[in-house]
């Protein structure tokens, strides 16, 4: 598949001071989530990709155009900004139509296409209303409409679900998936919301301190780890001795049975392993004289994985750039004691 985005040893920054890179990256046509805490260099990367900021060193291509192609580059990109970026006093149809004219469409084509897009994005009844009167969800959709007006093959979406309620968020993510699946649009989704990336993107990169910390398929990141289980017990005898691999967690225990790997696809072998492990936990609980009330394999989700990666990278920050609490606090054993 042809690379729609390719960066080679790219360094970018302000007043000669690099805040991004050196960065090498290839994105094939598809969907890529761009994650990272505040100050990670996401906006700088978007500026470089949009041709607004010139790289200090390195090179790259976006949809066949070299970086720094300026206007020509932005013809093949649709950008949906995080900020409202609306023009007060304009109606929805005028705004989208104006975007088309800025992108190079004739006035007639632009107007016709704006009507079509607003119909598609279910804004046709609001098209003659002033943008100032639009709800957050409508603003997000009209921003998407202006990004799509010139039918670019590549979309840069900056926090497209920001400020949306759950149903609005679902609708926006469905729309993005449809754009990709049915219309072949590639997009780079820049967000703090891991769920958005998990749901819409095939690949993701995690940026921190201007460097790529992680580049993986989203599916492989959210794998199940069958070697860890969350267990809750009933009627634990006071003199019971916990095995070493039983760690208190909340009102129950986290039972770690050693690394066994695992894949995103649940294979028959994985399922058999889970069954064996479950039996072992039942047996150990029985030996302690306790009754198992709850047992479930622990799923490591993207949030935990990123928190771990960011902590390992030394930042100790979450995706919003806030310091994470690293102190686990005093250990309490609910109803038992450690061996």
């Amino acid at each position: 598949m042809a690379a729609i985005l390719e960066l080679r040893e790219l360094t970018a920054g302000y007043q000669g001071k690099a805040v991004l890179g050196p960065l090498s990256l290839t994105m094939e046509s598809g969907t890529l989530g761009l994650l990272g805490p505040n100050g990670a260099g996401k906006s700088t990367l978007l500026k470089v990709l949009l041709g607004i900021l010139h790289p200090i060193s390195g090179s790259g291509m976006v949809a066949g155009f070299p970086l720094g192609s300026g206007h020509r580059l932005r013809r093949v990109i649709g950008y949906m900004s995080e900020a409202d970026a609306l023009i007060p006093g304009m109606t929805g149809i005028d705004y989208v139509s104006f975007a088309g004219e800025l992108a190079g469409l004739s006035r007639r084509d632009s107007s016709r296409r704006a009507h079509e897009l607003l119909h598609v994005l279910e804004l046709d009844e609001a098209r003659y209303r002033l943008l100032d009167e639009y709800s957050t969800g409508m603003k997000q959709r009209i921003k998407l409409a202006q990004a799509l007006i010139h039918d670019p093959p590549l979309l840069f979406l900056d926090e497209p679900t920001s400020g949306l309620d759950p149903s609005g968020r679902d609708a926006m993510l469905d729309l993005l998936q449809t754009l990709h699946k049915n219309h072949g649009k590639s997009f780079l989704l820049c967000t703090h919301l891991l769920g958005d990336v998990e749901r819409t993107c095939k690949d993701m990169i995690l940026l921190s301190g201007g460097q790529v910390l992680l580049r993986e398929r989203v599916a492989s990141l959210s794998r199940t780890i069958p070697s860890e289980f969350r267990v809750r017990l009933l009627q634990i005898p006071p003199d019971s001795v916990l095995p070493n691999h039983w760690k208190p967690e909340g009102d129950g225990f986290l039972v770690h049975l050693g690394p066994k790997g695992g894949t995103s696809e649940s294979s028959l072998a994985d399922q058999n392993r889970v069954t064996e492990d479950t039996r072992l936990i039942w047996r150990e609980a029985f030996q302690m004289g306790a009754i198992v009330s709850h047992i479930s394999p622990r799923h490591e989700d993207l949030r935990e994985r990123f928190a771990q990666i960011l902590a390992e990278a030394g930042g100790g920050k979450d995706l919003r750039g806030k310091k994470q609490s690293t102190s686990p606090g005093p250990t309490q054993i609910p109803g038992g004691r450690n061996e």
Partner: protein, 321 residues
């Protein structure tokens, strides 16, 4: 049938199927300049205030238009009769009409266009002071730049578009009405086309160009810097009323050298404009004027400084946050 259609990608309810790819040609970024100008003017004239101000500006034009017509018409009546002025004096009609035409300068002469353009300029300044926020300031205040600069245009195209909008507004109030008055004077006259008339025609265009050059970049720069209507209006009051008063006070009342009058930017623009029209102030009590080279230097420099400021201001705009 439905399965077959689905395989062919035929629309079904609930799908994003009405989206159509665009197969047309995309034009160059210069076409965006006209779109920006048209949209900016459209946004401006959505407000009734600007229609009111524009009509107010046209009142002066109508005064000249109908005044010129009336005087020509009155002059064409029977010129033998005398008009009684006061208890004793009787003035022949023709002399009186000619005297009025000279006094009011409604005779299609360069002096008439100088007076007209200078008067219209004051209305333009009021409109500009109020329009700056709408034309440019709101883009800064409401952070509209990601919208503009994510499209295939640059700072230059944005400035040209906004500048074109301001220039059209200015010339709708000055150059175009002046040209209408020029053609009216020509049609009411002897219909002959001479070199003098051609020079006057070009001079009117030149005066309009100087007004555009002097005022439009300043409007864009002040709007980009101050963004809101009241500060912009205060800046214009300072530049064109306060400095006018200071310059006049220093030179005419306190006896400072005439070059201090160059502080009055509006006077400077009008000085250059009157030179273009070839109007010479001959009255004995005419106010002292600064050196023309100084005036010309100021009129040429201030717009350049405005452009430099605009470039810096726009390059510091945070397009992506």
């Amino acid at each position: 049938m439905s399965e077959f259609l689905r395989e062919q990608g035929t629309p079904s309810m609930g799908d994003f199927l009405e989206y159509r790819p665009y197969r047309g040609r995309l034009r160059g970024p210069m076409s965006a300049v006209f779109a920006i100008a048209r949209t900016s003017l459209g946004l401006l004239f959505r407000r009734k205030l600007f229609w009111g101000l524009y009509l107010l500006g046209l009142i002066i034009f109508f005064l000249y238009f109908f005044g010129q017509y009336l005087l020509v018409w009155a002059g064409s009546q029977d010129s033998g009769q005398a008009i009684r002025v006061g208890p004793f004096a009787r003035i022949p009609r023709k002399e009186m009409i000619d005297g009025l035409r000279n006094m009011l300068k409604m005779d299609g002469s360069p002096g008439m266009f100088h007076n007209f353009l200078q008067t219209q300029g004051s209305i333009v300044m009021v409109i500009f002071a109020l329009a700056g926020a709408q034309l440019v300031g709101n883009d800064f205040r409401f952070r509209s730049f990601p919208f503009y600069f994510s499209k295939p245009i640059g700072i230059l195209h944005y400035l040209l578009g906004k500048g074109l909008a301001a220039a059209v507004l200015l010339n709708m109030l000055t150059t175009i009405p002046a040209l209408i008055l020029f053609f009216q004077a020509w049609f009411l006259g002897d219909w002959s086309w001479s070199e003098g008339k051609f020079r006057l025609f070009v001079s009117i265009l030149g005066y309009g160009a100087i007004l555009t050059w002097g005022l439009v970049p300043l409007l864009l720069a002040s709007s980009a810097g101050l963004t809101r209507t009241i500060p912009i209006a205060m800046f214009w009051i300072f530049s064109f009323l306060f400095l006018h008063g200071v310059a006049e006070g220093l030179v005419d009342r306190l006896g400072y050298p005439a070059n201090w009058k160059a502080l009055d930017l509006w006077n400077d623009i009008c000085q250059v404009g009157s030179r273009i029209l070839g109007v010479v102030v001959e009255a004995k009590n005419a106010p002292k004027q600064p050196d023309f080279s100084l005036v010309l230097g100021i009129v040429l420099t201030i717009p350049i400084l405005s452009f430099i400021y605009l470039k810096i201001r726009l390059s510091r705009v945070e397009v992506l946050r």
